[in-house]
Every structure is written in structure tokens, then in C-alpha cells.
């Protein structure tokens, strides 16, 4: 008994044995890699698929219900193996391959890439673990711990994200793992679905064709836009994906505000910071704040709770999701939370300044004079 797959080949549906499918898939992938650099490669591949479809259809007409390995082998014999089709070019390519890696040791030389197939944020951990041969989960946990204890590792992560290139082509993905770059391996990588050999922008840019000046300018433009998108992406990633980093940033900001408050620094920030402290610590002196209507205070408290609570909630959700395999939050929910968070933060800041300002004004802020911080019993 054998498992069969249903494939659409050149517009005809075939039932095909699993092993036969794998052989055919590998064959087509190999051809595709060879034709990648050629103009009209898609059309050539379509011709191939169409013809293979015709040949297989002949078998069906003979009464076979399922395409077997034997049929596919026959078809490949008829169409020709890559070395038969490409003849001298193919053997030359091979020689080139051997030349560039005369020493098998250097052949398997590893390069550090970000791994686009194993990523949570930027693929840095995935790439590192592929490079080091470690378990990606272990690397992630280690990085997370580092981020908790040393804030400096957050900007370092972002820097790595910017600096380390992403492994785009099959070749690069093999180098990332330190596997030697042979046609068989590339074929395998492609077959494994590591690389989507389609005519998308990246493939085009990475193809080995010599490029005209206009194309180079366009490439530069793509690179610059890509960089900008990346920067924006980092910003959103901080907010949306790793609530850890985000919670830490909030923590740093709050600590910073308290610090500023204690040394009596910048007045504007102080106003915001103190207003924040007032809402946080209801047992402080509320005299100037209580002049506000109750609803304002309630709103202030709610926005404050949201401003701090949303990142914490997202963090908790993410952790629970990882631990208990919950479904990831729907994108819509993420956006709603994000917008809600922005609104809350903005409201909190505005209200903080509104609350804080009169206090500073009234107290005539001075280190030695009465100041509200003293009323908060830290010790």
C-alpha cells in the first residue's frame, strides 16, 4: 500500500505516488535553479511541466490510475537529466563549484545569517542557533534572560538585526547551516520548501545577471526603502511582538521619571512624572488634584492602568501562548490594543502634565521645601 498525492501539473490533475512525487519535484526544482538566470525562465518551466503532463497523460490513457516512480523515471529519461540538457555548461558549472571549494573544509564554511524560516522577531536567534548548531529555543531563552538582566542587550539585539543579513537564497541558507553548496543540496533545500523559487523581487535582485545602471539605482532604492521599512518594523516589533522589551522600556521610563523627580530636574517632565506618581500612589497628597472632578480622575486612573496593563497583558499572553500553545492573538486584536495603548499613553501624559503642573506651581518646587515625594513612603 502506498500513499498518493494529488498534483496539478500543467493544468491536469494527477494522482501520484509519494516517492514519484518527490522525484518529480526534485527534478523540476533542479531545472528551475538552472533556468533561473535565463530570460523567460517561467515560460520554459511551464513548457516542461506541460510536456511532462502530456507524457503522464499518455500513461493514464493506457489505463494506469496512478503515476508511479517508474513512470516519472521514464519521463525524466525522455526529457533529459540536467547534465544532458545543459551539457557542457552544466559540467563547467560543476567545475566552477569544485574550484571555489577545492578544500572540502572551506566548502562547508559557515556564515552568519538571520534565519527567515525560524524567526520570532528578526530571526537573529534562529540564525545564531543554526550557526552554532544549538537548539534555537535554548538560544532564545538565553537571549530573553540576558534582556531581563542587562538592558544593553536589547539595543545589541536590534543592532544585530540590522547588521546580519537575512539568508535569502538556497545557497545562503546552506551556508548558514554550514552545509556544502552542491546542486544536490540546493535541490534538497528547494524541495524542502526552504526557498520559494518564484519570480519575486528578492529573487530577481539576487539573480546573477549583470545589471544596468537603471537597475542598480532601482536596487539601491529597494535597499533604502527596505532599510526604512526595517527601522519602522523594529519600532512596531518593540510594541507588538516582544512585549518583554516593551515592558522593560516602560519600566526604564518610569524609573527615569522617578529619578528626575528625586533630583528635581526638568520641570515639564517632572510635571508628567509627578502626576503619574500621584495617580499611582493614592495615599500621597491629593489636595491640588482633588480639585478636579471625579470623572477626570477615574479616566486618568483607567488610562494609566491601560498604559501599563496592555504591555503586561500582551507579555503574559505571549508567554502563556508559548507555554500552553494558545493561538496567537488575532491581528485585529493586536491593532486594537496598540491603538488603545497609544490613546492611553497620550491621555496619561496630557493628564499627568495637567495634574502635575499646578503642584509644581503651587509648591514653588524646591528641594528643601515641602514636596509630595516625601509623602510617599518608600521606606
Amino acid at each position: 500500500m502506498k500513499k498518493t498525492l494529488t498534483v496539478n501539473l500543467g493544468g491536469t490533475v494527477f494522482h501520484i505516488d509519494e516517492d514519484a512525487y518527490q522525484l518529480l519535484e526534485k527534478y523540476l526544482s533542479n531545472l528551475r535553479i538552472h533556468f533561473q538566470k535565463e530570460e523567460g525562465s517561467d515560460e520554459i518551466m511551464n513548457d516542461f511541466e506541460q510536456r511532462i503532463s502530456e507524457l503522464l497523460n499518455d500513461r493514464i490513457r493506457l489505463g494506469y490510475e496512478v503515476i508511479t516512480l517508474e513512470h516519472v523515471e521514464d519521463v525524466i529519461k525522455r526529457m533529459g537529466k540536467p547534465e544532458e540538457i545543459f551539457g557542457d555548461d552544466y559540467t563547467e558549472e560543476r567545475k566552477e563549484e569544485f574550484k571555489t571549494k577545492a578544500d572540502p573544509q572551506t566548502a562547508a564554511k559557515k556564515r552568519l545569517f538571520r534565519n527567515p524560516d525560524d524567526r520570532i522577531i528578526g530571526g537573529v536567534a534562529g540564525g545564531l542557533s543554526a550557526y552554532l548548531g544549538w537548539d534555537p529555543t535554548a538560544v532564545r531563552i538565553a537571549m530573553l534572560l540576558l534582556m531581563f538582566f542587562y538592558f544593553i542587550s536589547i539595543p545589541i539585539y536590534l543592532l544585530l538585526w540590522l547588521i546580519i543579513p537575512v539568508a535569502r537564497t538556497a545557497t545562503e541558507k546552506l551556508q548558514m547551516r554550514g552545509e556544502s553548496v552542491t546542486l544536490e543540496n540546493i535541490g534538497k533545500t528547494v524541495t524542502d520548501g526552504f526557498e520559494n523559487v518564484s519570480n519575486n523581487v528578492n529573487d530577481y535582485i539576487n539573480s546573477g545577471k549583470p545589471r544596468s545602471a537603471v537597475q542598480k539605482i532601482a536596487d539601491g532604492f529597494v535597499a533604502v526603502v527596505g532599510f526604512l521599512i526595517k527601522v519602522v518594523g523594529i519600532f512596531f516589533a518593540i510594541i507588538l511582538i516582544p512585549p518583554v522589551g516593551f515592558a522593560l522600556i516602560i519600566l526604564v521610563i518610569v524609573l527615569f521619571a522617578i529619578f528626575i523627580g528625586l533630583i528635581g530636574g526638568s520641570i515639564g517632565l517632572l510635571g508628567g512624572g509627578l502626576g503619574l506618581l500621584y495617580s499611582l500612589f493614592p495615599f500621597a497628597d491629593w489636595s491640588s488634584v482633588s480639585a478636579y472632578p471625579e470623572t477626570t480622575l477615574i479616566i486618568a486612573t483607567i488610562t494609566m492602568i491601560l498604559a501599563i496593563g496592555i504591555p503586561l497583558f500582551s507579555l503574559a499572553y505571549l508567554l502563556c501562548g508559548k507555554l500552553f500553545k494558545w493561538k496567537p492573538m488575532p491581528t485585529a486584536a493586536k491593532w486594537i490594543l496598540l491603538i488603545l495603548w497609544f490613546v492611553s499613553v497620550a491621555t496619561t501624559i496630557v493628564m499627568g502634565i495637567n495634574f502635575g503642573w499646578p503642584i509644581i506651581d503651587n509648591q514653588g518646587w524646591h528641594w528643601n521645601s515641602y514636596h509630595p515625594i516625601r509623602h510617599i513612603r518608600f521606606w
Partner: protein, 108 residues
């Protein structure tokens, strides 16, 4: 030096010429072209032909249209363009020259 190698180089050299010749007589499906070339022992495997046809089409020497077939999906039906005919003319001359040269060398 391998005789087979040289022979295959020779066949390769006249492959485009032969395709244009075939299509000058009458438009044909890809499979017909393949069959005729295989009969003439000009190609061994079919795969050689598809990139070649696409290349010829992209340089404007050939054109094709999709024609319905009684069995399966529509197939490409190739024909020679005007440009292709001019190109073929040049190749005919070149072939004549070659022929003359070889005869000349042979007979002297």
C-alpha cells in the same frame, strides 16, 4: 579528442537552423518539432528544446499561439515570423558557404 563530442558540437551548431527550416515548411506543435528532430537524431533528450524555443521566440524569430487540442489542455503552435525568415535566409547562405568550403577542401 572524442569523436562523439565533436559530433554533438556539430549537431548543436545547426540545431537552430534546423528548427527554423522545419517551421518554414509549416507551423508545428512543440511535440511535432521534437519528434522530427529526434528522427533526424539532432537531439537526444526533449529538455534541450524548450529553452531553445523560448530563446528563439524572445529574439523575435518565432511566434506561437495557443491551439486547442482534442486531448488535454491547449498547446503551443509555433510558426516562423518575418524576422525569422530573414534570419533563416542568412543561415541558408552560411550553410551554403560551409558546404562549399568543405567540398572544396575535400576535393582538393
Amino acid at each position: 579528442m572524442n569523436a562523439e563530442n565533436v559530433k554533438s558540437q556539430m549537431r548543436k551548431g545547426i540545431l537552430e537552423y534546423c528548427i527554423l527550416l522545419l517551421l518554414k515548411k509549416e507551423p508545428a506543435y512543440t511535440s511535432d518539432i521534437i519528434q522530427k528532430l529526434q528522427e533526424a537524431k539532432l537531439i537526444v533528450v526533449e529538455g534541450t528544446l524548450y529553452p531553445l524555443l523560448t530563446r528563439l521566440k524572445n529574439s523575435g524569430l518565432l511566434g506561437y499561439q495557443w491551439v486547442e487540442s482534442n486531448q488535454g489542455p491547449p498547446r503551443k503552435y509555433y510558426r516562423l515570423t518575418e524576422e525569422g525568415e530573414a534570419f533563416l535566409g542568412e543561415l541558408e547562405n552560411a550553410w551554403q558557404d560551409l558546404n562549399n568550403t568543405i567540398n572544396h577542401i575535400r576535393n582538393n
